[in-house]
Symmetry: C2
Subunit: 224 residues, 2 copies
Amino acid sequence: MPKNKTKPISTAIEDYLKAIWLVAQDASASTNDLALQLKISAPSVSSMLGKLREQNFVHYEPYRGVRLTEKGEREALRLLRRHRLIETFLLEHLGYDWGEVHEEAEKLEHAVSDTFTERLDTFLGHPSHDPHGDPIPTLKGKLPVTPNTPFAELSIGETLKIARLMSQDKDVLTYLKSLAIEPSKELQLVKREPVGGLVHVEIDGAETVLSKELAMLIRGEVIV
Amino acid sequence: MPKNKTKPISTAIEDYLKAIWLVAQDASASTNDLALQLKISAPSVSSMLGKLREQNFVHYEPYRGVRLTEKGEREALRLLRRHRLIETFLLEHLGYDWGEVHEEAEKLEHAVSDTFTERLDTFLGHPSHDPHGDPIPTLKGKLPVTPNTPFAELSIGETLKIARLMSQDKDVLTYLKSLAIEPSKELQLVKREPVGGLVHVEIDGAETVLSKELAMLIRGEVIV
DNA sequence: ACTTTATTTTAGTTATGCCTAAAAATAAGA
DNA sequence: TCTTATTTTTAGGCATAACTAAAATAAAGT
């Protein structure tokens, strides 16, 4: 009779898996990147990576970086699903604003069961994307494909149908909202300044200016 | 400059405070009672009680039992408020049944912020009691007074307006529900068997029999 | 190639919060 | 009261997951 001990997944492990996914999707992440992302010291990360490998959540050779195994990615996406459904609930039904949502979801995602998650999914009407426009992984761990062209890459005169805003910073999000820049809106590139990369844009008939950095965060689909 | 270290309240501490409150409200609880309630060994409880005393959550002299301080009770009631609001949400909006609710709420109550709790309270319409009929502590830590006479103590012919069912056991709750015994219903004591304490009751015009133990769990107000 | 710098790992601590086994205090029964 | 039984505490461990300091490895610069 083999041991076959399936250890429970701690919230620490969940956070590591999510961090690896965020930092390196399917590529490979460095110890330092993870330490930064998790706000934890590099030695702590290093030692945890050993444990994650032992439990087959990651491929990891010392000094050579980490990447998620299939098992690890499954868990990361399961957590991401919980996170984004919870965010959707907080924003749409409890009156949270951008600034408050993240921290709360970060705690709750570790506490809810699969049952809760699926009931919440039903309650919310099975959304495919959260209010940021980020895709919500399905129960089977598939990510709905999402138009992802950065606004910054358009040519003069082109228009982007906004799908998502790739930031979780409160100030960024509320600033964009104050300009009416939100998922499903259409944004046209009017002019690009020759130095500094500022872009002039038109939305809802009004014109404003965006920095290059901001323009990189706005993603969506180029339309005719 | 004094240290003045206000340590964060761990989920373990929250569970102990809740357990002490449940076991001994304002009276004093024994180490063993708590070990039973928390499903933790007595030595573990003993050592934790020392820590709780150091942080002024409890009054505790070795061998002489524990009771909550004002500070401890405030925390216990804050947790209880979260618990009961969460249960209400799960039962009324996510389609949970009696059996599933407890476990989920037990985890979530440690994860939600005060902000979440108050937004949820608003979402739910500021309920004073949860669907069990248990009173929900207010933000200020007051417990709404609740009619609390056990059905078992009525005299023949008297009727109880049910306010709460003092059990968190799935089977008990669903059994009572199958007999239409729920908060706000009226239950009349028809007859008491001379041996064994079985009671014959009438509810919604139908008659059934309840054990003495069950009759103790049904609480409410005697009406004319 | 070699030296400096940066990254990563090892070694050794710490704090929580649980456990079992054994000792001490209290409570109960003859 | 004195002995037995129960309850509670002390003693000593273990697992998780963080930390700092120092050593090892890898990367970059000249």
